[in-house]
Symmetry: C2
Subunit: 216 residues, 2 copies
């Protein structure tokens, strides 16, 4: 498959998302807390700080020092293992988009799976606050790479100068989510990639600057 809000991301911000001031922390704690949260979510259990303490062996204070709310912790846990393939920056912007969006599943990160994506989307649909926390702390950051790529295209005069970057990225990402969520197809469905590539070409024609555009 491909991914969508992964495509063209900047280097992933450090995990966990928030770092407060204070003494240096045990990196092993982060991993234990996140694993405990993921395990609870995968079992369909509610993720409470008490259960995370129990499963991870990390103290309540240390958990809250890292993630100020359970929603923030859930968002970080759902993003675990997710990586963003670097987009090639070059002259061939359309090629970079097609490649970035249709790179194979392992480019999402070896520790990430389609099951994890489905879990994240289900939980986001049940809990709008979680969806918004995930959006702020993960998706919107991952979009920085593709945003920069498009901005460079605008600056070079290759893309329309009035381009709405948010709408453009929502369109390109949205067509992939539609495959999973509405069509119910899997990452490796053979019909999916050609359809999505064609969709990206439609977007391309909609964002590229017409060669004969006259000023004014």
């Amino acid at each position: 498959m491909t991914l969508v809000d992964a495509a063209g991301a900047a280097p992933a911000p450090g995990s966990p998302v928030r770092r407060g001031p204070g003494r240096p922390r045990d990196a092993g704690h982060d991993a234990r807390i996140l694993s405990a949260a993921i395990a609870l979510m995968e079992r369909g259990e509610e993720v409470t700080v008490g259960r995370v303490v129990e499963l991870s062996g990390v103290s309540r204070a240390a958990i809250y020092r890292r993630w100020p709310s359970m929603t923030d912790l859930l968002a970080a846990a759902l993003d675990q293992g997710r990586e963003a393939p670097p987009l090639p920056y070059g002259d061939d912007l359309l090629g970079a988009l097609l490649e970035g969006y249709t790179s194979p599943l392992p480019a999402m990160g070896a520790g990430y799976s389609e099951e994890r994506l489905r879990l994240r989307l289900r939980l986001a649909l049940s809990d709008r606050r979680l969806a918004q926390a995930y959006w702020r702390s993960h998706v919107s950051r991952r979009r920085s790479g593709i945003t920069a790529l498009l901005q460079a295209g605008v600056a070079r005069g290759e893309l329309r100068e009035d381009l709405d970057l948010e709408a453009t990225i929502d369109l390109m990402n949205g067509v992939f989510y539609y495959q999973y969520v509405v069509r119910g197809v899997s990452f490796d469905d053979p019909s999916m990639l050609p359809r999505c590539r064609e969709a990206l070409r439609i977007v391309w024609r909609g964002i590229v600057r017409e060669p004969d555009a006259h000023p004014g």
Copy 2:
């Protein structure tokens, strides 16, 4: 808000989806069976034929005569109350698309709600067979209106003759789903409609036939 796979649909197929041969049926039974299924889903209970019999008072045989599997019944129940606003067919194809996709929530059907949409998407993400059944029996049918509208545009020479209709509709629908599923915004979020309208205009530029296109 708007909807997406609702936009531009043909008259909704009769409910329930499948009609077998045989004696005329009690229409009240359909409604009771569907309500029972919805009630079970909303409570998070598993929808078994036994529980549907119990709640609806309709016999097992009568249920299976209408829906050959629980997956088919679930798909029909999730579509209950969903209506498809007719798209105006006229000369202004872009106007029709913008209007059809951004018509207010009541156009989805008075008996339909954002909560129902979220429930449908959550269940579809948990059960790919349900997603595919819903796609076949409901979404793909609802897309027939927008498909006809685009085909007419191609026939008139307004849209590109090599237009990939499936990719086009996936793009336009996908950008709306992205808002709910990934951004976590609601139907009435003030930023959503302008962004989606702009996305539809990008698609439009990508599908319209260039006026100076030379043949060959």
